[in-house]
Symmetry: D3
Subunit: 308 residues, 6 copies
């Protein structure tokens, strides 16, 4: 079972301006080969299909808890995409009458890379890559064999780190850069965690691969705040009461990677504080939430009061 | 952000025997056109892309909370698939040495419909339909327009109900039938909720379409227990503190559908009690969790103790 | 623009029994590599994209008119699929109350090859192949170059003939065999027509390739009736007034292929007589048209009267 | 069976200039989620798979006749795409020798969004979306259940209207805008028709949803001419003799939607007058119809004479 | 550049009988997630895209040479598939006249899992999985980063070994089992080679993961012959003169894995002896090579003589 | 079995500058409809699935040998793509420390057409088309029927020639133009060869179709060198000893096409000289081969010495 909290795992700064191609680049981190849909899909189905859960509790708990974190990563990237495509929230969008739509007000959308994202999705996020090609089952590995699955996951987090770095290198807007910075720190945690899990089983010190690519997080300014907080040493259970057994793998005397600020690894019950979710103020002339939404706003206002 | 709880939304009875074709049929409810991946994907991305959240809070909360429930539906069907493909849990699987694999011990898997599910996934669930074809972005609608999205969702829940009924009609095993029974009740709740949301906005009494297809839930024995509990009148927030505003839509004097046991609709904070998750005892000769997993079990046992 | 006539191009005998795997085999002729969706898609888009139509009128007319015939082929195969999956029409389907659905009345559908066709489509036809994999744009060639397009079409009809023969060899039911017999004759006409078109342009006697595969139509009993009628010598304009100019290619002194009954080729204005469309009587327990459709039948009956 | 008429359903003005990105945007209305391939595919297969046709004649006729209209919509959008990609017809294209191709005459095609459309298709239309991703079976719903199918269709037409509006907002060229204007009016008719069909069966006044998005057609200048003609009140049978029974649903005292010019709904036998199809004059240096096509034109001219 | 030799890498015993479902199971090793198309595609594109080849010669040579071996694996599995689908070679197939095709001679093909393989491909191999779903670009990783690519490759070979084992467990026919036995030995070599390559760069002893799954090759009777030959200690350059530099990684004092027969690793110039390719005698009634191929055989015989 | 030689079939000039959109255009010749992956895939699987090889040796040899050449074409286009995306080789890439990645050094990659090619593949080639859509099994025809397969291949080479011409017309950079020039000559050879093979079997002089499109190779400056060498008259066996029997088809008195430099056709044992492969010097700030690769270069240097 899953619960939801109306916050993002990290606070995202508002975008400076609408930049649909930047939003499309960020889509690579959502629906691309190594995107968050892929990490989520892998761990989610591995946790559903996990064999002999009781006998392998610490490993099961690790995969199950990271699944919950990945849901928040999908959410974070999706919010980043929608914010970049939409631009900064403005109080009232276009005029109450929806604006005059007959003069090609969105002519520039004709030339963006992921035109379908505007035409069909009004700039919202979708599980596609930076070219609008869909994520699908081919990105999931769930073999039922613990070593193969964990090894796959370790490689996946290394590959994802590489792609996060490249997307970061294309972005100037603070919204997208913050998404990358946060995910780089958390992805390093996951890579480290899978390395430790495999080391426990096989004795092979996979953590020596890290960081791959071999650039320390400290070189990315947007990572600094999270390193200062010690985010790189923490795994959250993302659960009210479960998954604590992963402390046998993450913790238990293990410490931070050599390039990162030192300290012991620790499992934190629950979830990080996180940040607020953007409004994504609608644009009536793009029919979001509709062309003349005032009446709808009024109805919602009454329903809101009735719910209190 | 999302949290996870190590239980299923409903208790599933153990399967009588391994039945890979039944598991494959159930896959239609996971990765098929109207499967749970589709309902999840639609509501999840709609909630991420939702415009003017503050002004439309009750509608946003409704979509956001149902998203969390759908995650549990994906989990429930996935567990059902893996249980049906694996058969009943037996204490020790095959012998500690993994069994002799040289005499085609899985010859019968050569003739099942979704052979890839065994060969690549050891009978685990994947986001594919009953023929092994992948779920993908084409099954998602997230237009940014509230009325179009809600109307799509209403139609989706009606279609999903139809397909749940058809899958149910092919299954004799209690595991799969329970999955269908539970989902039929919860799917009816979602259809009803979207109908009410649209009625609030448009004044059109879409709830009169229900039930579609026009067969009352009471004709399905596996639904009875959930009707008796009043599940058909409850929407859970699936959140510690958020999404209560949907009570302006679900509740607020609204009552159960005419064919169902009467009573007021109510929003419940949090989540249902749910049931335990099956062990899915590994089968070493199928390399789950590995061919000779004893050492791994010992390691896990030590790590478990260290985590306490 | 297109018009529709409520008849099939050929009369299909009723199936002996429901045979979902035979229906699935026939799907190869609908959505498979060389299926009717492919021939339709190729000629339709070629005709839409045709360059310098006035200067190349006979060639344009040929492609445009065959497009219209292919629409009827898609319809014919689709009807064959639905008939085979549904079985013979029976006057009343299951009882008015829809039958008891709680005893797995469709258990045998769990084991059919294209399970999704029943679960999602109630046995209807869809643009997929015999394994349930979708037809798509990759099956279309529309290059804007007349010689390449016509050469592609000639090869396509030869390939399609091969696949029709193989599907025919798997079927015992008269419905599917009639579909194959009719399409074999018409496909031969199209192959012949494209060969003649290319011969006019290049001087190469491509018609000498025919028949490919090199088996005369007279060896297939189901083709005999159509050969006797002279169907192999006729191209229909499938239009009230247009496309007659293809007579410069088909006709104009050209004669039937050597293996077929002799005679001149002729363009026929309009369309063949065709045959009636099956009722596909609904099965309420499969929710077609619904679980308890009596009221719907009454409403339809009143609306029907109002329309007269 | 289908017939073809060598005209478009609406007259399209010539484009001002070649604009491949505008052509690509228009592709969203052809092969995108809610494009004309989707409406066509849905209604076509629903009509082929329709159960108990005789008992549900008015509903069958409605779906069957709209299928024929949708074929013309696919044709109309396809022509618009090819015209925008090709630019205005010029009498002789490049010189008879095909032009010198060695100086990168199409260098600018290197940077267009849908480059494959030029490289493989010479700017012709294909069943893909605005990013070149293929339409496929996942866009089709044909459940065999009348209420679910009609509800789906109603939602589909609302979604299609939304996307037509957004594509319209990106276009400045008269060709593409005319396509959108015409389709907006006709799409409104179809949404209205499905709403009425469902109202007849369920009593729910779905027509109150219209227009969705809630912008009247009168705000789109390109729609005005069609509203003046009364196109919004007409459904054509698109058949010489069949499908008249839909008058029980469309007509029978029903009137135009409140925002549109008033009047009774009426079924028209046959088809609208329509407009002529563009020549799409070939460009030899792009090998359309070929590099040095003069000989081919001469041959065609002789064959044309022979056909008269 | 690539050269071809008209032999298989291993001699395959003739199948006992035609078994299309066994052929389809073997397809998982061709076009499935971890099939030979995937290993080929990964290494081939990695070798094409390899950065700074001169400076990283031993690593480049390793990937480039294994690419050539994988081509032979694709060939080997493909031959296995076609042999299993076709059955044992018989001298003359059906009678010279092609046999009577009118009595459903291939009726049993109606019920096989991968029906499209017969209907479209006459039982030949295709790059699809055991359910007929296509291999595609999503199975390829080529990041340009050596560590990520090599780590991916190491995981890929472990996963492929798992799937080879499962396919092996479903097969009784000697042809398919031999394919699996040979590939298991060669896959182990590749996994070992990538482990060594990564150990050279990172110092991490990844070879301790092997064998994964942890079953020694000696438990598979079909592997014994290849172990006896020392195949597990050999990497071939598969080149007349190039790629010898991989001896810095494979060789250079490294020895066989602990579970396998002991000895030093060695790079062998060129290729193994291999075995002959099956005739795949045609079946005229299935139109392979055609319905009445005698004339074609005569022509070929004359051309053969002319070529000598 | 296949062997590999560390050279390209033709020498490619260095690119003038990095041009990702030109690289993407060239991708159409790799993974597009008529790209080299398609020609390779068709001939490779046809050769694996070839029936009655001994009796049809000259035809089998032709398809088998051309397969080997196509592997080199895939390699050639891939190298061209990577060179165009990467730009000219520079001795040391960015500084040894990898450069500062925090100032969006790849901002311009945000706006390229195939953004995924940079973000996931660092500008390497992949089996996708110019829009990043994957090549797949739908592009393969392998029917088991010799005439259909050869006819398909003939059409494929004509279509491929058309697309090579169009890609050529968009490129100004010498690298991409050389790729096109070389492939145009070799593609003409293949079209000619398949025409001759079919003429031998059927007597139809398909070679009269050539060249299609009807522009002589002499009009393309980049082809001239290859014509001068006589490349248009040569088929290579691409084998140490096999496939010589195709001389019964290519040779045996046959001569060059009328538009090309005259002379007899000849089969050449082995392969052309070819040209060297570009270094593709890594860019550390793009993590190719890594961020600070010096240590890796040193390790490789030692391993290289150890291999000598």
């Amino acid at each position: 079972m899953f619960m939801r909290i109306d916050k993002l795992q990290a606070e995202l700064p508002a975008p400076k301006r609408a930049d649909p191609n930047a939003a499309a680049a960020l889509q690579e981190l959502l629906g691309g080969k190594y995107g968050e849909m892929s990490t989520l899909g892998n761990y989610m189905f591995q946790s559903f299909n996990f064999r002999s859960k009781a006998k392998l509790r610490p490993f099961y708990s690790l995969v199950a808890a990271i699944t919950a974190e990945e849901l928040g990563h999908v959410e974070l990237v999706s919010n980043g995409v929608a914010m970049l495509a939409n631009g900064p929230d403005v109080p009232d969008g276009d005029k109450g009458d929806g604006g005059d739509i007959s003069n090609a007000p969105f002519e520039e959308m004709k030339d963006i890379r992921n035109a379908a994202a505007f035409l069909s999705g009004a700039g919202g996020a979708m599980p596609v890559n930076s070219n609008g090609v869909s994520w699908n089952n081919d990105f999931i590995t769930s073999t039922g064999n613990i070593v193969v699955d964990l090894l796959h996951n370790f490689h996946l987090e290394c590959g994802a780190r590489l792609h996060k770095l490249r997307v970061y290198e294309t972005l100037t807007d603070p919204t997208g850069r913050e998404v990358c910075g946060y995910l780089l720190v958390r992805g390093s945690v996951h890579a480290h965690a899978y390395a430790l899990a495999l080391r426990k089983i096989t004795g092979v010190d996979l953590d020596k691969f890290l960081p791959t690519p071999n650039i320390p997080l400290s070189k990315i300014p947007e990572c600094q705040k999270y390193l200062d907080e010690g985010s790189h040493r923490r795994l959250y259970t993302f659960s009210p009461d479960d998954y604590k057994e992963m402390a046998g793998i993450w913790g238990n005397g293990e410490v931070a990677l050599p390039d990162d600020p030192p300290g012991e690894l620790e499992v934190i019950d629950g979830h990080p504080d996180g940040g607020k979710i953007a409004q994504l103020v609608g644009v009536p002339s793009a029919f979001t939430p509709d062309y003349a939404p005032e009446e709808m706003f009024e109805i919602a206002s009454k329903l809101y009061k009735a719910s209190r």
